[in-house]
């Protein structure tokens, strides 16, 4: 996918919006769901969604440091902030729907689950050291899952017009993120095959990346379990992952990116219930439940930047 990234940066700058552009007091908040059980599950889903956007934001911050040129670095700085904006919007929706604990005017940030905490820990410690091809190939797969499955599912489930208005804006942003994401994914496929292979093998042997993989895989499985509990059809995830494979693999360069090959194969296994992949990963999910909290690092301050407020 040939993309003019200079034009894209201009487009991004021209497409900015703020939380204040959404009327958070508009009628319809009761249309979130009438089902009490569904409401409780939705609360968990929204918190997960918010955290996923937030950790995605942090990944973009790491990518900005590794971008091969100034324009792409600037784009990633914008995407970092835009993902934060999405997380802020999702927190504001939770506030609107009464899903935040604590004082009404000073609610508490929902607690991330243990797998998210582990991913936050890893991102905080190692993400800045990761080569661009790792995060640059993972991020489009997550974006496509968010865009193609999670957000669509949310909009099918929730009828609140404010939620629809907010996600219309979020989806616009995400389409630009995907455009740049696949462009970079292809960019990483240039070069001689043996060089790509040697570099990938070298990166894969990096223990810091292995820790990251050990944190990331159970998070995906836990998210999938939560989504299925909420009523998401697994086919939706399957379709999303197929889309990643189709778009990412539509050019030779995309297909030659070893990370694309690794991630598309791994994604296929994630959405295939029968795959043996789930045996160790589900075991990891259960194991992480017993992960001693005291082993976690103190919550980094970037996490505390989330807010539901339109103005500060």
């Amino acid at each position: 996918m040939q993309l003019d990234i200079d034009k894209m940066l201009v487009k991004i700058k021209n497409s900015q919006w703020a939380l204040a552009d959404i009327d958070w007091d508009a009628p319809g908040r009761e249309r979130v769901t009438e089902n009490v059980e569904q409401y409780a599950k939705l609360k968990v889903f929204m918190a997960d969604l918010m955290w996923i956007e937030h950790v995605g934001a942090r990944a973009f911050a790491a990518m900005a440091k590794k971008a091969p040129n100034d324009t792409l670095a600037e784009i990633y700085r914008y995407f970092h902030a835009e993902e934060q904006r999405h997380a802020n919007v999702e927190m504001a929706l939770m506030k609107r729907w009464g899903m935040l604990e604590g004082d009404h005017d000073n609610p508490i940030l929902p607690e991330p689950n243990i797998n998210l905490r582990l991913v936050i820990d890893w991102l905080d410690t190692y993400s800045d050291e990761m080569p661009l091809e790792v995060l640059g190939s993972v991020i489009p797969s997550l974006e496509i899952a968010l865009d193609g499955a999670l957000c669509k599912f949310l909009l099918d489930t929730v009828q609140d017009p404010v939620c629809h208005a907010a996600f219309e804006k979020i989806n616009d942003d995400e389409s630009r993120h995907l455009g740049v994401g696949f462009h970079v994914l292809e960019m990483m496929g240039y070069g001689k095959t043996y060089q790509l292979a040697v570099r990938t093998a070298g990166t894969l042997l990096n223990p810091k990346l292995l820790i990251g993989i050990a944190a990331y895989l159970p998070l995906l499985n836990r998210m999938r379990d939560n989504l299925v509990k909420l009523g998401l059809k697994e086919e939706r995830l399957y379709e999303a992952m197929n889309k990643y494979k189709k778009i990412g693999g539509r050019t030779e360069q995309g297909r030659r990116n070893p990370w694309f090959q690794i991630i598309s194969r791994q994604s296929a296994m994630v959405v295939d219930r029968k795959s043996l992949y789930h045996v160790p990963v589900d075991a990891l999910v259960r194991l992480t439940d017993y992960y001693p909290r005291r082993w976690l690092k103190a919550t980094p301050t970037w996490v505390k930047g989330l807010t539901w407020k339109t103005a500060a």
Binding site: K65, Y78, R85, N88, V89, D124, T301, T310, A311
Partner: protein
């Protein structure tokens, strides 16, 4: 400063032109600007016996940059003993790094003690310069006044003299107060106010600690974090002042020592050497020592080589950012709104006042006003792809026209005044060639200028400034026409020789 105006000989109004002999008279040397460079040039010209000198100044007071930059905390980041003229040393500096008021007082002293005030025509704003090759004279067009005819013109208007609010989205919609750091509004009371500071460059790091002391809330909007190094500032003890007064050579010795310490910095700042790494290590350790939070430290960590942009010398910037009433915002700014600044994370940061510490419009691609040389050639057009000059002071095709802080004369590691003195002495020598009317003009040969610039650009390619970061040193297309790629000593040596073969004498 109306007393200056009263004392200055003001050119006659248009209606009195015919009766006014001053308007028709040819001035030997006309200097544009009464800042450090203009006053320094006037002093040295007169010392060389060239006394027919006039200075036109658009403001109503001397001081240039230091008259304009009076924001709270404004100070020089070069020690005062070095940031002053060697021929006018000041034993009374109260601090190692003096504040802008004290520097302005020093400049006023230069004008007063050297009896320069009668030469200065205040509120004379130059609109254009045009050279008449036949007569060998420059016509200096002024706003609302009669033109001045001069044999030689010294451009000393300063590279950092044009400050304006940046062209940001929605700037017209903001209803609160807006202040540019170089046009400070001293009548505005910041006490208890919510303030945003846009920019984290050399001015911002001085303003922020002062604002944090009085404002209710200070939000600092950062685009690119710079390298910060500690500043060894101190209050000058009385005994050094007494010593410098009694034994001036002791101050010269201190100045020399400071000069060589700064010269050694060139090794790390201008070129990528092990010393660059050592300076970066110092910067990193300083940040680690001063900033406790890991994320804030990350936000403040530069991603370019030290020296690529101006290094920030401050001890109180990082502590100020960590005060409870201060917040660093590194999200990009989306736009300004009626009540504040909307950043890309979707939040509107509502403030009473926005301080723009966004720098100056540095003349990298062009001249501050039209300059027409031999045959009507236009300097602005010639410089549109990046300014070029011969030894930074003269441009081929523009005879008898001299620049201070001209193209490629900026230092990154030493006092600008050291460079300025070399330029002034060169100008004095060149002006001396035409003063008295023996020659009509001296013009640099185009091939000499071309050769000089090829050498400069070749050397610049190996410097940290051209190592990939965006800075005001570079034009939008990456051309470096601001910095001199070498030691101050090299620059001084280059300016000490006057190569007649590089000139056309007419």
């Amino acid at each position: 400063m109306t007393q200056y105006q009263d004392e200055a000989p003001v050119a006659g109004r248009r209606s009195r032109r015919a009766a006014d002999p001053v308007a028709a008279k040819v001035v030997e040397v006309l200097i544009v600007g009464a800042g450090f460079a203009g006053l320094g040039a006037a002093i040295r010209l007169r010392a060389a016996g060239i006394t027919d000198v006039a200075i036109v100044e658009r403001g109503s007071e001397v001081g240039g940059t230091w008259r304009d930059n009076q924001y709270p905390g404004a100070a020089c980041d070069i020690p005062s003993n070095l940031y002053s003229f060697s021929f006018a040393q000041n034993p009374e500096w109260t601090r190692g790094y003096s504040g802008s008021r004290e520097i302005l007082e020093y400049i006023r002293g230069l004008a007063r003690d050297n009896d320069l005030l009668p030469l200065i025509r205040f509120q004379h704003n130059v609109e254009a310069l045009s050279f008449d090759g036949g007569k060998g004279l420059w016509t200096v067009t002024l706003s609302g006044r009669d033109p001045i005819i001069a044999r030689s013109v010294v451009m000393a208007q300063g590279p950092l003299s044009n400050a304006g609010l940046p062209n940001m989205r929605g700037i017209e919609s903001f209803k609160g107060k807006m202040i540019h750091s170089a046009r400070w509004d001293h009548s505005y009371d910041f006490t208890g106010k919510r303030v945003a500071v846009i920019g984290t460059g050399a001015s911002a790091v001085q303003i922020i600690p002062e604002l944090v002391k009085i404002a209710d809330k200070v939000k600092v909007f950062q685009r690119t974090p710079g390298w910060v190094l500690p500043r060894l500032d101190f209050q000058s003890p009385e005994w050094t002042k007494a010593l410098f007064k009694k034994l001036p050579f002791s101050q010269t010795a201190v100045r020399e020592a400071m000069y060589w310490v700064h010269e050694s910095m060139a090794l790390g700042m201008i070129w990528n050497t092990p010393m660059t790494r050592a300076l970066e290590l110092l910067g990193n350790r300083f940040r680690e020592a001063q900033v406790k939070d890991a994320w804030l430290r990350r936000q403040l960590t530069p991603d370019f080589k030290i020296g690529c942009k101006r290094v920030l010398m401050t001890n109180d910037y990082y502590p100020a950012l960590q005060q409870p009433n201060c917040e660093l915002i590194s999200w990009p700014i989306a736009n300004l709104s009626e009540q504040g600044i909307r950043s890309v994370e979707g939040i509107e940061h509502q403030v009473d006042c926005i301080v723009f510490a966004t720098g100056f419009e540095v003349s990298k691609n062009g001249t501050p006003f039209p300059v027409h040389g031999l045959g009507g050639r236009d300097l602005n057009a010639e410089w549109s792809r990046g300014a070029q000059a011969y030894k930074s002071v003269q441009v081929s095709g523009y005879p008898n026209l001299y620049f201070t802080f001209g193209p490629n004369s900026g230092p990154g590691h030493n006092s600008a005044l050291v460079y300025m003195e070399s330029q002034i002495d060169y100008i004095v020598r060149s002006v001396g060639q035409v003063a008295g009317g023996q020659l009509k003009y001296v013009d640099v040969r185009a091939d000499a200028q071309k050769k000089y610039n090829e050498g400069i650009q070749k050397r610049l390619a190996k410097t940290n400034w051209n190592s990939g970061c965006k800075s005001w040193y570079l034009s939008d297309d990456g051309f470096n026409s601001t910095m001199y790629p070498g030691f101050a000593t090299q620059f001084a040596r280059q300016m000490a020789s006057f190569e007649l073969r590089d000139y056309r004498l007419v």
